[in-house]
Structures are given as structure tokens and as C-alpha cells.
Symmetry: C2
Subunit: 211 residues, 2 copies
């Protein structure tokens, strides 16, 4: 069994052996460097990507280049949107940027439709992905619709801490502002207030969560 097969099996433990074989036979391994944009709004989707390693950021782009974070993709996950574009030429509604260097498997769209019918484990993976992403997006809507910026910031920090499984968040205020679609000054202001409330300690390029 090849190195890559092992990684694939470990990262997607629910895939059947036959499915793994099909993937190996029909798809290509790819890697991307941090900062690369691997899918952009308006582009045609021609393949879907299974993440083996690294981290992707999926966000919505505003007309003036604003970003709005939707969610992060971790190893063992795939982009929900690219899973469901059927055979028609569908353009992407989102942008995907590499946060940490990525290794991934790229699968041609044409195959996916077939696999849905022939591979139960693929079908379940797609359904599961779609459902969880939909829920995540609903939560995003809740946040921007019902919550003020201070709560959203708290939520954002907690989510981040959970994702990297540590209490230190290495981001500048500017980067956070971009993802919440606000301005650096607002983030600074709110973080300072959180520090006064004893929720965080602030350092240069680092926020230490105390909650």
C-alpha cells in the first residue's frame, strides 16, 4: 500500500476500500502554499478537493474586495459547494484561500456523480458534508443578523481557539477585522474592553484567551 493510500485512509476513515482505490486511480495529489487562492468567486468548478493536510479558509467576497469568513476546512473535509455542482458548468460562489500549506486530492466533477450512486460511503460523506456546512452557515447568519460586533468577536475568537486547540491566537487586529468585515480600530476597541473584563490578555500579534 502506497504512502498516499495510507494518508487517505487515515484522513477519511469512513471511505470504503473500493472507494479509496477509485480515488487513487482517478485523481491527482496536489499541494498549495499558504496564501494561495485555489478557488475564486465566478470561476468554473471543474474538480472538488479532499483536504489531507493544512487548512483552507472559505469566504465570501464583497464587490469591493471585502472578505467575509464562512468557515475553515480541515483535513478530512471537502468543500460542500464543489460537491454538488452536478455536471453542469457551475461557477463558484465563494473564494478559498490556503491558510496553512495544503496537501489535497483533486477529483474531477464527472466522477462524483457516479460515485454518489455506486459508493455508499461517498454518498454519506457528501450528505454529511452538506448538512454540517449548511448548519455552520446558518450559525453565521445568526451571528451577523442577531448579534452585535462584541459578541461576534468573542464567538470568532472562541471558534479560532477551538480550531487550533490552543488559547493563543496569532492574528493581528487587522486580520480579524477583515474576516468580520469591520475595521481594525473597532477590533482594537472591543479587544481592549474584553481585556478590561478579564477575558483576554493582549500581546503583539497574539491574543491570549482566558475564557
Amino acid at each position: 500500500m502506497s504512502e498516499e493510500t495510507i494518508v487517505l485512509k487515515n484522513t477519511f476513515p469512513n471511505f470504503s476500500n473500493e472507494l479509496i482505490q477509485e480515488i487513487e486511480a482517478n485523481s491527482s495529489f496536489q499541494s498549495f502554499k499558504a496564501g494561495e487562492v485555489i478557488m475564486r468567486t465566478g470561476q468554473y468548478i471543474k474538480s472538488t478537493i479532499l483536504l489531507l493536510k493544512g487548512q483552507l479558509k472559505i469566504y465570501r467576497e464583497g464587490e469591493d474586495g471585502e472578505e467575509f469568513l464562512m468557515y475553515y476546512l480541515q483535513p478530512g473535509q471537502a468543500c460542500a459547494i464543489s460537491l454538488i455542482c452536478s455536471t453542469k458548468n457551475q461557477t463558484s460562489q465563494i473564494t478559498a484561500k490556503v491558510v496553512e500549506d495544503v496537501e489535497a486530492v483533486s477529483i474531477p466533477i464527472a466522477l462524483m456523480d457516479k460515485w454518489m450512486m455506486n459508493h455508499r460511503s461517498w454518498y454519506e460523506f457528501v450528505i454529511y458534508t452538506y448538512r454540517t456546512r449548511f448548519e455552520e452557515v446558518l450559525e453565521v447568519i445568526d451571528n451577523i443578523a442577531f448579534r452585535a460586533m462584541d459578541e461576534r468577536l468573542e464567538f470568532y475568537l472562541k471558534r479560532h481557539a477551538k480550531a487550533c486547540d490552543c488559547k493563543e491566537i496569532n492574528l493581528s487586529h487587522q486580520e480579524i477585522a477583515l474576516e468580520l468585515n469591520t475595521s481594525r480600530e473597532v477590533v482594537s476597541r472591543l479587544l481592549k474592553k474584553m481585556e478590561q473584563r478579564g477575558l483576554v490578555n493582549l500581546h503583539r500579534n497574539q491574543i491570549e484567551l482566558l475564557m
Copy 2:
């Protein structure tokens, strides 16, 4: 062929004959009156609903009972979320309220999983539904993330006009405010400005679109 079969065939023209037969054999026709809430956040989903007639409003509920409109369901459509809950006991993340008296077919969840495998036309319907709803929700995010209330109001009015295919919108400012999660006064203010710009004519309980 029964009356109901005909309605079903007309409303879902892409369903195969075998699928229609299965639906008839395994599901129940139901009707709901305007104002009824037929699915509520936190409830277990035990069936999905195919809309034959009337209109449903799908929205997200805030903690204090605020509403936030996601989209409307028209005849020929189904709630995306209820389509993908697999067999597990999944609770609803949204609330569905009847806008116009509804006639619908209720399908037990257990069957849907089987149909996905056995009925190509059902599979395509589910995928299509999921994709279009996801896109719609992305558009909602765009609106609240990137646009101010005046633009959101314009967008809302246009969408409404398109849905009922006429230029007169019979809603009070209060109702609109609820769906955009703002206050009546704000809606009044913005509508007045739109009137001054020549975009609408305002009447009691009616907004006439001029764009």
C-alpha cells in the same frame, strides 16, 4: 389517474412515473392554514414536505423571538434542510410558517434515503434543491454582511415583487421590519426616502414598486 396524481405530476414535472407512484403509495397529503407554524427550531424532523400549493416562509429565530427571513418556498419546492437529515434524529435549525394556505405531500424520512439510490429523478431534485438553497443563503449573507439597510430593503422589495410577480406589495412596514430584523420606524424612514427618489409609491398597507 387520481386528481392528486395529476397535481403532483404537474407540480414536479421532472419526477419519473415510478417515483410518483412511490410517493402516492407511501406519503400523505396534508394542508395547513395561513399563519400555522409547521416546523419549529429544535423540533425533530420526521418527514419532509413537498409543496403543491401556497407559500411557506423559512426563517431563523433569534433567542428573543426575533425573526430573520431566509427564503420562501413555492409549489414545486421542498425544504432543503429536511431533505438531508439522513436517518439520524436531527433537529430543525429553522422555522417554517405558512404564508398562504398550503397543500403539501408529507414524506417519511426513512424513504428518502432509499429513493436517493433508486430514483434518479429524486436524487437530482434533492441535489438541485440543496444547491439552489445554499446559493440563496449565501446571497442572504452577502446582504447582511456587506450592505446597509437601505440596500437590503430595496433587495427585499424586489425579491417580493418577483415572487408574487406583481409590482404591488401588500405588507405593512411592521411586517417588513420583522423580516429584516429592524424596526418599523427605520423601514418607514427608508421607504420615504425611496419615495422621494421616485422608486416607490406608498399607500396604506401597500407599496407600489416603480423600478
